[in-house]
């Protein structure tokens, strides 16, 4: 059986990090979300994977290549325009022959749950939908069941109107007949898989599989920190150089060729990406540091995402903690986000970042500045 993984989407709520990479390539525990999905699919016994790529697909292709490093065969179907998940599944049509599993590349699922969908699909041959219980069902597609049969799906209903707490978990088992069903679905604008499912549900043709395991979603920048902290384990690459006087404590992943300089302390819940550098006496805690980033001597970086190849100057303070963060016009109150430093950004020495600051890509912050709020990519932040 093959797995079709949908990875063509952009993820605008995660800007600026998704300006240069698609959402599935965001890293937690030093691995892209998609890598966690690919290994789960493989561990479920599926070794042929079709990735439906689109937005910034070079990042995915260069990372996964032909899949050899993961013991799977990866082929790529290209979705030139992002016209919805249903349209994305259609792009895989020429790559699959029999029944197949389809899932999202930006949601971490457990291999046992994928196996459950595979088993159900093998048994019934019918369209299969993985469902699970959610504490905030109205953020998802809410499902009504009769026995194992799905009788209704409502996309993101208002809180009071959610008919149940069972939601679509985003793993599907399909037979090739799904392609005709997708084509026959008329949708306004984008074609979502759920548009077609709603039709099939009406005909009583969708089987539900209740999941046991966890599934983890990353919707917002601060989710990266939360998810990273929940799955990262102590793991240090052989090629990393950690000075004898530095300490790396708790659940910290240290990538290839990372440098941790004398006296630095890297505290739990942190992932240091490949070739990242933590300067002398710096403190990094509960943070995601992407590859090639440099954290200067004496800097304090807490609850932060530091972008690829970004430079955080000496004695910069990202004090961390909770703050109110606006995303696409909506304010999210009391989220734990010390700050985000965009890819290739440069934060001058002794700058302070107020909690919740989001610096865009290639932002240049002058030495000794104070930054706050959301700063667009390529901007220059001057010392007040």
């Amino acid at each position: 059986m093959k797995a079709v993984i949908l990875v063509a989407g952009e993820g605008t709520r995660l800007q600026p990090l998704t300006e240069s990479r698609p959402k599935p390539m965001l890293r937690v525990a030093n691995r892209p979300l998609l890598e966690h999905v690919v290994t789960a699919v493989r561990d479920a016994g599926i070794d042929e994977i079709v990735l439906v790529v689109g937005y910034r697909r070079e990042r995915i292709q260069s990372y996964f290549g032909d899949g050899d490093d993961w013991g799977v065969d990866v082929t790529y179907a290209i979705q030139e325009k992002q016209l919805g998940t249903g349209h994305a599944v259609l792009q895989a049509e020429s790559f699959v022959e029999g029944p197949f599993v389809a899932l999202n590349g930006d949601r971490i699922v457990e291999s046992d749950d994928i196996e459950r969908v595979v088993d159900a699909l093998r048994e019934t041959g019918e369209t299969t939908l993985a469902v699970s219980r959610a504490s905030r069902p109205s953020d998802y597609g809410v499902v009504s069941l009769e026995g194992d049969s799905v009788v209704d799906i409502v996309e993101k209903p208002p809180k009071h109107a959610a008919p149940s707490d069972v939601v679509n978990a985003g793993i599907y088992g399909f037979s090739p007949s799904i392609f005709d069903a997708l084509r026959e679905t008329t949708a306004e604008g984008e074609l979502a898989v759920t548009d077609t499912l709603e039709r099939l549900v009406g005909a009583g043709e969708v089987e539900a599989v209740m999941l046991n395991g966890q599934w983890i979603d990353v919707s917002y920048l601060w989710d990266l920190l939360r998810v990273n902290a929940s799955i990262v384990t102590a793991e240090t690459a052989e090629s990393a150089q950690i000075d004898a006087s530095a300490s790396v404590l708790g659940d910290v992943a240290v990538g290839d060729d990372v440098r941790v300089r004398p006296g630095a302390r890297v505290l739990t819940g942190t992932a240091l990406g490949d070739s990242a550098t933590v300067g002398a006496n710096a403190v990094v805690a509960n943070s995601v540091v992407l590859p090639d980033a440099t954290i200067g001597a004496g800097a304090v970086v807490r609850d932060a995402v530091v972008g690829e190849n970004a430079t955080v100057g000496p004695n910069v303070t990202v004090e961390g903690g909770e703050s109110d963060v606006p995303v696409n016009g909506r304010v999210h109150a009391d989220v734990r986000l010390g700050g985000v430093v965009g890819d290739n950004a440069h934060v001058g020495g002794a700058t302070t970042l107020a909690p919740g600051t989001v610096l865009g890509n290639r932002v240049d912050v002058e030495t000794g500045s104070h930054a706050d709020g959301r700063i667009e990519s390529d901007a220059l932040v001057r010392r007040a």
């Binding site: 290549g65 790529y76 060729d257 300089r261």
Partner: protein
């Protein structure tokens, strides 16, 4: 630069041979053919065109379980059906495929024609089957006949032969690679392991002067008439790594692989805290201190990497460095071979001219170092020491990731030599190494701006000619940028040191000739801006790869290069690679297999 395959076993040989040729096709592609051992004779199928054209010519299957095949890139004679390999004798019972050049074929051919042999092709190769035919007529066995003929050949060659009444394949190697793969009850032959890697991972490499006989049981090798054992090596890497992975072309895939290739090149070698480099080289400190000159020999893109490295080594290690096009190299007067290190830079490790230069140098007594991407390649066996660039397989004929990996590796070498010679302080070394370590991230930043490069390419793709200018470290990058464009888009492109523009080439500059300028750190950008002004005032559009916004107002288009000191021009080079790629792609060129070119040039 052509490909050889062979099979002896129990399976249908035909699909295995065409499959092997397909795997090798990136090496040569104007004609292809196979010879099958069938019944008491040999059946040959061959045609002009790519391997797919051959697949259309041959039957779906055959009874044959032994055969040889070839994919050709013309050296002697035009690509025609007749000139395609395999070549046969007058009886049609001896079939031969050949890579390389037989230098004395004129004389041999004249002699054979005098004896009444009829030649079907214009190739040098065809003398071999006719010579074998004569020896067989004298009553010799196939192996004796082959040995006798080899004694008469001069030049470089890898040969494979099948003869009508034998299930053996006869091989000979002289300066052109050939290897044997050991399967289970079957044996494969290839000019490169990629020919058969999906079937056999245990490999025997033949050495110069070897004559080998392959059967389904394996291979026996003799050297100077004595039977010898050649070691069996296990191939760890995967042929699949050479697949396109979702990219339209290998070249684009390899351009995008550069950050990863660089990380591999640097991994475990750099300690910027101490300002030291560990390259695992066996060059004694006393020797490095005694050096008067380092000579770099290379061809094509590797030569440009050598030019770049020469600046770095001279600056940081305070030793004279000369860079030589390998085909022009000679160890000339005024040098002490004991105080000269000769560094051969070759991606494949099989470049015939570079190997020749290295051997010339070794004969004078100079110590030699190979800088290559290919473990176990000829150059690593010919040189005293080897330094690997670890870029991973490169399939696109136009070299991309190997250039940046060569320069990065040689930059580490420059620091190493500078530290040993005491010409570079730990602090200075640390700063340089910091810049080198900044390369993967900076290159990724350039790759992320691909859309912008494509827009620039669309704007200028239809220009009459393209000029690339740069100074200091920007000069080799200008040369390399022009070479990439020439290779894959077939446009007229020239690279100059920026200051030379006014000494001649400026006469060629018009509104129709865009100028691409390297205006980064390490490339004397301020001085180059004078040349930019000269071009602007002739109406030429100027595209600048620049750090720091210097001279932005003078430029029609700008591509931003992060400031990483002496490594910055390498990031500009990534933009120039993307520019060449997009121009060629807009014109629908065969980017991975440009006309008239081959990946590794194994003939001189």
């Amino acid at each position: 630069m052509c490909g050889i395959v062979g099979y002896a076993g129990r399976r249908d040989a035909l699909p295995l041979l065409t499959g092997g040729l397909f795997n090798l096709e990136y090496r040569g592609y104007d004609s292809a053919g196979v010879a099958l051992r069938e019944g008491d004779g040999v059946t040959v199928y061959k045609t002009v065109g790519e391997v797919d054209a051959l697949r259309a010519e041959v039957p779906v299957s055959s009874e044959a379980t032994v055969g040889i095949g070839h994919t050709r890139w013309s050296t002697h004679g035009k690509p025609t059906d007749e000139n395609a390999h395999p070549h046969t004798d007058c009886t049609g019972d001896v079939a031969v495929v050949h890579n390389g050049i037989i230098d004395n074929y004129d004389a041999l051919k004249a002699e054979l024609e005098g004896e009444g042999h009829t030649f079907a092709s214009a190739t040098d190769t065809e003398v071999v089957p006719h010579l074998v035919e004569d020896e067989l007529a004298d009553g010799k066995s196939a192996k004796e006949a082959f040995r006798a003929v080899l004694d008469r050949l001069e030049g470089s060659f890898a040969l494979a032969m099948v003869v009508g009444d034998s299930d053996e394949i006869y091989l000979a190697r002289q300066d052109s690679p050939l290897c044997v793969g050991h399967g289970d009850g079957e044996t494969f032959v290839g000019s490169d392991v990629t020919a058969f890697l999906e079937h056999a991972r245990e490999v025997t490499y033949l050495e110069n002067g070897d004559l080998a006989v392959v059967t389904l049981d394996g291979v026996t090798v003799e050297h100077d008439g004595e039977s010898v054992e050649r070691p069996v090596e296990q191939i760890e890497w995967d042929a699949d790594a050479a697949e396109k992975g979702g990219y339209e072309h290998y070249m684009l895939k390899e351009i995008h692989e550069q950050p990863q290739a660089l990380r591999q090149a640097l991994s475990g070698r750099v300690d910027e805290l101490q300002g030291t480099v560990d390259l695992g080289l066996d060059l004694p400190a006393e020797y490095l201190r005694s050096l008067e000159e380092i000579q770099i020999v290379a061809c094509g893109t590797s030569y440009h990497a050598g030019l770049y490295a020469a600046h770095l080594i001279e600056t940081h290690a305070d030793v004279r460095v000369t860079v030589h096009v390998a085909s022009e190299y000679a160890f000339r007067g005024g040098r002490d071979p004991w105080r000269t290190l000769v560094v051969a830079v070759t991606q494949s490790g099989e470049t015939a001219e570079t190997l020749g230069a290295l051997r010339d140098a070794a004969r004078t007594g100079a110590r030699t170092l190979a800088v290559t991407n290919t473990v176990g390649s000829s150059v690593t066996r010919a040189a005293d020491d080897a330094l690997y660039i670890r870029a991973g397989p490169e399939i696109g004929v136009a070299a991309t990731k190997t250039f940046v990996s060569q320069v990065a590796t040689l930059a580490l070498f420059a620091v190493h030599v500078g530290r040993v010679r005491g010409t570079l302080s730990a602090t200075e070394a640390s700063a340089i190494l910091g810049d080198v370590r900044g390369l993967p991230g900076a290159v990724q930043q350039a790759l992320d701006a691909d859309e912008q490069v494509r827009a620039v390419a669309e704007e200028y793709a239809d220009s009459e000619a393209f000029f690339f200018i740069g100074r200091h470290l920007g000069h080799p990058v200008a040369l390399e940028g022009a070479l990439k464009l020439k290779e894959i888009s077939y446009d007229h492109a020239e690279g100059f040191p920026a200051g030379e523009l006014k000494h001649g080439p400026l006469a060629l500059v018009t509104e129709q000739t865009p100028v691409l300028a390297v205006l980064t750190d390490g490339a004397n950008a301020d001085a180059t801006l004078n040349s930019v002004k000269e071009a602007e005032s002739r109406g030429a559009p100027v595209i600048g790869c620049l750090s720091d916004g210097r001279g932005e107002k003078l430029l029609d288009d700008t591509l931003d290069v992060p400031e990483i000191g002496e490594m910055s021009p390498l990031v500009a080079n990534v933009y120039l690679q993307l520019f060449a790629y997009h121009v060629a792609n807009l014109k629908g060129r065969a980017i991975d297999k440009p006309r008239n070119l081959a990946k590794s040039v194994t003939v001189e």
